[in-house]
């Protein structure tokens, strides 16, 4: 079947870590050079907007749908050629030259195509003229495994693991191919760790835990959905210029064997954890490393700290005490507002895009049904014909029926592509979550800083009072002096913590800023690319349908009133 050979060729095409392998790329003969040059010009124009300091291109090519990455040119020495492996919107001439097979769009009915995810991942449509860095991640092969340790229930807990295969030429990875087995919990852990380490970055949101209660859908469907979601998520991470090089990510992708689960997740033990680790200076006791304090208060742990910060934020809000630092960055606040509007409109557009897709789908179905009904009528009329005019009518009906079926197919294929293009809207809507996360990290860092400042000031005033009181006692007050010493120690610790907090806040602010810049830039490029793809697609299929129907109109023109 045509599709399979195309798939295969494509698979091979991706393994070009060396020049030799590049030269083995399968050429897509069907595609005209015209489309290639169009694509090229599009790509080169995009690269001109590429920030000179941003990291080199990452290729996470579509691996299963050749229609998404239609052109692999023989001229592989040209670095731009590798860019072709991106999901690219079909040029309309491709529509006519690539044979369409209904099976290629089996994923169209609401189900996410994995190859589409690559279009949404970070540095996808940005080209660079020099470095050919790429990383390709596949999630496959779900298997049931038993949790033999820790089983309260005899027979143990079973869970699903997925095979995660990474192919890369990135230096940081020190190798070219890895396979590990991971379960969903591991992904959750990864996302939590990334969130901790990369505060302020727009970290792509991980897939939902959504446990399917009562098995509304078959386990198989659920597993498949999850598999695709995981793949999409990992590819998005791989698309992020900073995160893709993170230790957490590398460990996740490379290290064999089971990942340690996060230390007990139940609330009770977490609270115990927290109670042990309570920032002791808050209890006026000995110090803890400032870095620990600086991490945002997590639910379960740091209960006391949470309460403190809550109090502080209330104080801030009511403005009863003047905090030392306020969010004065007007530009940031403006930007935040704009992003809020953007999110709103994005959400609306995303919804309407869904409805448009549905309308196209319905059209395809109804045209198909009409076609089939007319074919039945044709057969009937032909079989039962007594008069010649009946056979003529049967033939006419057949022409229309065939055209309707063709048009139905066109709409289906059009829709499959539309889904892929308009998915960019959905993806960016999802990314807004990451933006929220990054902004809230900033707020929380600011809050931490402000809390510490306020603590510091109250500690200092207590010290002052104690000093004053103790100086009134003749010969000194040993008890008070001891206390004073302790306080002074606390002050030093808190001062250190405050400094760390300030640095952290600044760091996060900077992360926010650079991410915003990247976000804006990439969003521009992705949206324009989406629009072009969407429009090109519409043109292609509309032209095709117009030809199909024009032919039938021609064939039936003798019946037209004008001609009679």
């Amino acid at each position: 079947m045509m599709m399979d050979s195309e798939n295969q060729g494509f698979e091979e095409a991706q393994l070009y870590s060396s020049r030799d392998q590049m030269e083995n790329l399968v050429v897509k003969e069907q595609l005209s050079s015209k489309s290639f040059s169009n694509y090229r010009s599009a790509m080169s124009s995009l690269s001109e907007t590429h920030h000179p300091l941003s990291p080199p291109t990452i290729l996470t090519p579509a691996d299963s749908d050749p229609l998404l990455a239609p052109t692999i040119d023989r001229d592989v020495r040209n670095p731009k050629a590798s860019d072709r492996l991106f999901s690219e919107p079909l040029h309309f001439s491709d529509v006519n030259s690539v044979p369409f097979d209904g099976n290629s769009f089996s994923d169209v009915n609401g189900v996410e195509s994995p190859s589409k995810s690559s279009e949404s991942s970070g540095g996808l449509s940005r080209s660079s003229s020099s470095n050919l860095e790429y990383i390709q991640i596949t999630v496959s092969n779900p298997q049931k495994e038993q949790d033999v340790s820790n089983s309260i229930v005899p027979g143990g807990n079973s869970y699903i693991t997925y095979l995660i295969t990474t192919r890369t030429n990135m230096a940081e990875f020190g190798g070219s191919e890895y396979s590990v087995r991971r379960r969903f919990k591991d992904v959750v852990t990864l996302s939590e760790r990334l969130a901790e380490s990369y505060r302020g970055f727009f970290i792509p949101p991980r897939p939902d835990k959504s446990v399917v209660e009562g098995q509304v859908m078959h386990k198989q469907e659920f597993v498949e959905q999850r598999r695709m979601a995981l793949e999409k998520y990992l590819r998005k991470l791989a698309g992020h210029p900073v995160i893709r090089k993170s230790d957490e990510f590398k460990v996740f992708l490379q290290v064999q064997g089971r990942l340690p689960l996060p230390t007990t997740t139940d609330v009770a033990s977490r609270m115990l954890d927290g109670a042990v680790k309570l920032p002791k200076q808050l209890l006026s006791e000995s110090a803890i490393a400032p870095q620990e304090v600086v991490q945002p208060a997590k639910g379960g742990r740091d209960l006391l700290r949470l309460f403190k910060e809550l109090k502080q934020s209330v104080t801030n809000d009511w403005g009863s005490s003047k905090p030392a630092v306020i969010e004065e960055d007007k530009k940031f606040l403006e930007k935040k507002e704009k992003l809020r509007d953007l999110e709103q409109q994005l959400s609306a557009a995303s919804q309407q895009a869904e409805l448009l897709v549905k309308a196209q789908q319905d059209m395809a179905e109804t045209l198909g049904e009409l076609g089939l009904t007319l074919i039945k009528l044709t057969k009937f009329e032909h079989e039962e014909a007594v008069f010649n005019c009946q056979r003529v009518r049967a033939a006419d009906t057949k022409n229309v029926a065939t055209a309707a079926v063709k048009a139905s197919r066109c709409y289906r294929e059009l829709n499959a592509q539309t889904v892929k293009h308009l998915d960019v809207l959905h993806d960016y809507l999802g990314l807004m979550l990451a933006v929220h996360g990054a902004f809230s990290e900033r707020s929380s860092a600011l809050l931490t800083e402000q809390t510490l400042l306020s603590d510091l000031s109250s500690l200092k005033s207590r010290a002052e009072k104690l000093e004053a009181a103790s100086s009134k006692v003749f010969g000194g007050d040993i008890a008070r002096i001891q206390k004073l010493e302790q306080l002074k120690e606390s002050i030093r610790t808190t001062e250190d913590a405050k400094n760390v907090a300030m640095r952290e806040y600044e760091r996060i602010k900077e992360n926010n800023r650079s991410e915003l810049e990247r976000f804006d830039r990439e969003r521009q490029a992705d949206f324009l690319s989406m629009m072009k793809g969407f429009v090109t697609n519409q043109v292609g299929y509309a032209e095709k349908m117009s030809h199909v129907w024009a032919k039938v109109a021609e064939e039936t023109s003798s019946y037209s009133k004008e001609n009679n």
Partner: protein
């Protein structure tokens, strides 16, 4: 003299006295009259003809739907065997009844109805047609309300005798349980064909109607999507903002094309299919009439024979009832011959009508298919052109 519907026979002008006979009618100008529950639509019916039986070369009258119903009923009564052209459906959902679309669909169907009658060799001679096309509105109103009662009653004498006779004849002879049917293989085939055809056509019409709906829905989706895109464009800056605005505007514009096509599809494809279904249903009505006529013919023939036997008996016995019986026998024989004649007329007519029907339907559907294909081609090329015009702009935006 087969005439195209809606067109005058041959291209000769109405004014030349030696031209071919023609009768052309148009149903136009729907106007809502009356108030509230009593409200109805009236149509202008314009007749142009050179038939001698008609009052003049042109006549304009005002008619309403129930007048057309009257005409149909009269023709159905009088011209058994002929496939009387069908009327558009009587009932409609209340709120839909006065929508512009419904009114237009009905007007078109009524126009087709009258023209088919006017171009039918036999039906065009009908006196009732002349009345319909020429009578004053008051006359029409009188006829309409008067005749609505008549058709409930059975035509008198024939049936009376038949009923009397039937009660005297044994069930076994008549086989009252079994319906009497023709054993004509060709006719059987036709009946089977007609019934099957109705199923196919009904299904096709259903899908055609859904297709109209899909066009409307797609149009709406494009409109909403366009609006959302424009709003999104307003949030974005520079190139992207402009891109979305243009995209949104284009999408909105295309929405109109889809609504237009939806309407075209309804009038030029779905309606003809519906009309086809109605025609098939009118054939079914004629089939029922033929079955009735056949049954009557059989039963009358049977009872006449019995009467003859009875008469012979009475005459042999020199009964004084013989004279009366002979009279009855003669009446019955006449009626039986009449019934046979009627049945045979129906058979002959149906044969002709079937040919006419098949040929007409090929033309009608050919036209409907043509319009359908033309409309879809027009829509598709319009869509392609519209989107295509956007590409250079998007290209330019990508570069900037």
């Amino acid at each position: 003299m087969e005439q195209e519907r809606g067109l005058p026979g041959s291209s000769l002008s109405p004014r030349s006295p030696s031209s071919q006979p023609y009768l052309s009618v148009s149903v136009t100008d729907p106007v809502k009259l009356g108030n509230g529950v009593q409200a109805y639509i009236s149509y202008r019916v314009i007749t142009k003809t050179n038939f001698p039986e008609y009052q003049g070369p042109e006549k304009i009258v005002i008619r309403r739907y129930s007048d057309f119903v009257w005409l149909h009923a009269r023709l159905f009564e009088k011209y058994k065997g002929i496939f009387i052209p069908s009327l558009p459906e009587k009932n409609a959902v209340e709120k839909f009844r006065f929508s512009a679309e419904f009114i237009e669909m009905r007007r078109q169907a009524l126009d087709i109805f009258v023209n088919r009658i006017a171009s039918h060799q036999e039906l065009q001679q009908s006196e009732d047609l002349r009345t319909f096309l020429q009578a004053e509105e008051e006359t029409m109103e009188r006829l309409r309300s008067h005749d609505s009662g008549i058709f409930k009653k059975k035509p008198a004498d024939l049936m009376q005798i038949f009923k009397d006779v039937q009660s005297k004849v044994s069930d076994i002879v008549l086989g009252k349980e079994k319906p009497v049917e023709e054993s004509n293989p060709e006719y059987e085939k036709l009946k089977h064909y007609i019934f099957e055809l109705e199923n196919h056509l009904t299904e096709a019409q259903k899908h055609a109607y859904r297709l109209v709906k899909r066009h409307r829905e797609l149009g709406q989706a494009l409109l909403d999507f366009g609006k959302a895109a424009k709003l999104l464009g307003a949030c974005e800056e520079k190139a992207v903002g402009k891109g979305f605005s243009e995209l949104g505007a284009k999408s909105e514009m295309l929405s109109n094309k889809l609504q237009t096509e939806a309407h075209q599809l309804l009038m030029n494809f779905e309606e003809p299919l519906k009309d086809y279904v109605r025609t098939v249903q009118s054939i079914k009505a004629t089939i029922a009439e033929r079955a009735n006529a056949f049954r009557q013919q059989c039963e009358l023939a049977e009872t006449t024979k019995l009467k003859e036997i009875n008469l012979d008996k009475l005459m042999l016995m020199r009964s004084d009832k013989a004279a009366e019986a002979e009279m009855e026998y003669k009446e019955l024989k006449a009626a039986s011959e009449e019934a046979t004649r009627k049945f045979e007329t129906i058979v002959a007519l149906m044969h002709q009508e079937t040919i006419r029907f098949q040929e007409q339907k090929t033309l009608d559907m050919g036209l409907a298919f043509h319009e359908f294909a033309k409309g879809q081609a027009r829509l598709a090329s319009g869509v392609a052109d519209a989107w295509r015009s956007l590409l250079p702009k998007l290209e330019a935006l990508s570069v900037s």
